[in-house]
């Protein structure tokens, strides 16, 4: 009796003829949500719903606490194209849905479901630079701050997992085997994609980072945060040591604006645009 209700819920926002993969996905979302939560698992534990205090119940004034799942928000977040034929979509349950997009026609099918994350997906990034065979080409990030690195060929395989350090990873980018991750405490971290090793930490912002972008031709990195700043960085790899380096290039303050989106406007990173909460404009900056 529960399934029809779920489908109805998702079906309301879908076109009828494309409902097939969505229905499958919705079913997976619900099952996943029921399965993986263990009592006592602190990370990502959802709010407990308290029953109304009964008059006759003794003990604690609030009554006994029941361990059942409250209604949860269901949403999709994070999207990226992979290998020129897949579109990956993140969900609130932590599942990543991989859709196969045919070169002709509208028959989009759900090809795979990646089940490595236990918390809501925040962002997905695919490789925007050079991609030698066998290397990582997809990164997924979640609410707890964990990252998963994938290789996509016919099927997706998990290369490595980068554990969280206590803060949400809100945004992630992948370039030439370097993962750039922005976190809710204002920090940017760089990782080696194939091994997952930490290569740099940057105390970049005083507030939650919302946006990261990479200019693939130059390796310029852009970060936008709630502290109203856009910071521009330059990524590089030392030819002798192979060490990943990052240097600060520029600061731009969008006065009184909590930035929620920022992007380079060209692949070299000579211009960028930003917008924020309560702003009905997109502000564009260019190098003079």
């Amino acid at each position: 009796a529960e399934r029809p209700a779920e489908e109805q819920q998702l079906g309301a926002v879908q076109q009828p003829e494309r409902a097939a993969p969505a229905r499958q996905a919705a079913h997976l979302l619900r099952r996943r949500a029921r399965q993986h939560r263990q009592p006592g698992q602190r990370l990502g534990r959802r709010a407990q719903r308290l029953p109304p205090p009964a008059a006759g119940q003794g003990g604690r004034p609030g009554g006994q606490r029941l361990h059942r799942h409250p209604a949860q928000a269901v949403f999709a977040r994070g999207i990226a194209a992979a290998s020129g034929r897949f579109i990956c979509v993140g969900t609130s349950s932590g599942l990543v849905l991989v859709f196969d997009i045919p070169s002709k026609g509208t028959n989009i099918t759900l090809s795979e479901v990646l089940q490595e994350h236990h918390d809501s997906i925040t962002d997905i990034a695919s490789e925007v630079g050079e991609n030698p065979d066998g290397a990582a080409d997809l990164v997924t990030a979640d609410d707890s701050g964990a990252l998963c690195v994938w290789r996509s060929k016919e099927e997706f395989s998990l290369l490595t997992k980068i554990s969280a350090f206590g803060w949400t990873c809100s945004s992630v980018k992948l370039w030439n085997g370097v993962i750039a991750a922005g976190y809710g405490n204002g920090q940017i971290r760089l990782y080696e994609a194939t091994s997952g090793a930490l290569r740099a930490t940057v105390s970049a912002h005083a507030r939650w980072i919302y946006a990261l972008d990479l200019a693939p031709l130059t390796g310029k990195l852009l970060s936008g945060a709630e502290d109203s700043y856009v910071q521009i960085w330059k990524l590089s790899r030392s030819p002798d040591t192979g060490d990943i380096e990052i240097e600060h290039c520029h600061s731009e303050c969008v006065t009184d604006t909590q930035l929620c989106g920022a992007r380079f406007c060209d692949p070299e990173g000579n211009s960028f645009a930003a917008t924020g909460y309560d702003l009905s404009e997109i502000v564009r900056y260019g190098q003079v």
């Binding site: 709010a47 308290l50 004034p61 609030g62 290569r199 740099a200």
Partner: protein
């Protein structure tokens, strides 16, 4: 007191049960309806225009608090600040206090364990509700937290949130995990380290000021400036250190009072008056404009006239517990402050650091919390 009525209605068990159920955010219309019902739960009656103004004020104040939260989890601290202030209003009514404490516990149970990402989702949902509201609020404009275009000022200085590092440092590691390079950069702001984290317990120092009573600060009124007064920066209860000279003078007076032999007034003694305002005119003006509903008793004691002066003074003295040195109890002080002020109208003029020129309904509260009378 209408405050009790409103708070009792707000924290009604059934209403709270409904609120705690997981649900979508109320629509703007629904919220306004709830607000109207709450405001009219007491004998207070507001006309439509006043109601609109009050609702706008509440909306913008809450938007400000949610927007400026340094960390997403701080929206919970803001809520706790709200509840602390509410508990202060009803601290003499144990039944209502119990209701509020119960709600407090439920909030702690339900929300303390949410992750930062979940809190940010809640915060974003709230911010969407408040999007595009830019009503100008005079108290915010005066405090320079809101621009004249209605948008809030986002500070780029001050302490970073708990868990965030002060921006400016790049650390680079080799493939073995050893730090090989350290570079500093200027991020543009002027940030410092945070002192400590706010408490998420039933009682505790929240540290965060968002959500505290924004009317507890005395602000100089722009319009009239009495002769000798300087422009006063507004100071809050927490920041103002008691003026040591004023404290000493009050202590001295108390010692005098303790050892004072009350003689029958003969009319020739000039006597002296305690005036807490900058000028006599201000004192008279304040007395005239004091709202009626503030229900403290005023005792007029004239040094040269009253036969009953002995009895009055003796009774007032009985309100305070005076030991060999002067002992001040803050609870007694805050309740009896108005009594204190008029009782000592027979003593000397003491100039104060405070200039209560602003006129508002919470004046009694502000007087009672005058920084001079904070016990040492």
């Amino acid at each position: 007191m209408f405050m009790n009525d409103i708070i009792t209605t707000m924290f009604n068990k059934k209403f709270m049960e409904e609120l705690f159920k997981p649900q979508e955010l109320y629509s703007k219309k629904a919220l306004r309806t709830v607000y109207d019902r709450l405001a009219h739960a007491s004998i207070m009656r507001l006309n439509q225009a006043s109601m609109d103004k009050l609702y706008d004020l509440m909306t913008m104040a809450f938007k400000y608090q949610v927007l400026l939260c340094p960390r997403p989890k701080d929206i919970l601290l803001v809520t706790f600040n709200h509840l602390d202030a509410i508990k202060d209003f009803i601290r003499d009514s144990p039944n209502i206090l119990n209701q509020v404490d119960e709600t407090f516990r439920q909030l702690i149970d339900m929300y303390s364990c949410l992750s930062a990402g979940e809190f940010q989702l809640i915060r974003q949902t709230l911010l969407i509700f408040f999007q595009d509201m830019h009503i100008r609020v005079s108290i915010f404009l005066k405090d320079k937290v809101q621009n004249s275009n209605g948008r809030f000022v986002l500070p780029i200085s001050g302490p970073v949130p708990w868990g965030t590092e002060v921006p400016g440092l790049i650390r680079m590691f080799n493939c073995n995990g050893d730090e090989v390079k350290r570079v500093e950069f200027t991020n543009g702001g002027n940030y410092i380290s945070p002192q400590r984290e706010g408490s998420f317990d039933l009682y505790g120092d929240r540290v965060l000021k968002l959500g505290t009573n924004m009317y507890s600060v005395s602000r100089p009124v722009e319009t009239h400036m009495s002769g000798a007064s300087k422009t006063l920066a507004s100071h809050t209860k927490e920041n103002a250190a008691p003026n040591p000279l004023a404290k000493e003078e009050l202590n001295f007076l108390a010692r005098l009072m303790g050892g004072l032999e009350i003689k029958k007034p003969n009319g020739s003694e000039p006597g002296f008056r305690l005036n807490l305002f900058t000028t006599d005119e201000e004192e008279e003006h304040a007395a005239l404009t004091r709202p009626e509903e503030l229900s403290y008793k005023v005792i007029n004691i004239q040094a040269t006239q009253d036969q009953q002066q002995n009895e009055e003074l003796a009774r007032i003295m009985g309100e305070f517990e005076l030991g060999s040195a002067v002992q001040w109890k803050s609870a007694t002080l805050s309740k009896s402050a108005p009594l204190l002020r008029t009782a000592w109208s027979s003593y000397s003029k003491v100039s104060t650091a405070m200039s209560p020129q602003s006129i508002s309904a919470t004046r009694a509260q502000r007087w009672a919390a005058s920084p001079m009378w904070t016990p040492s």
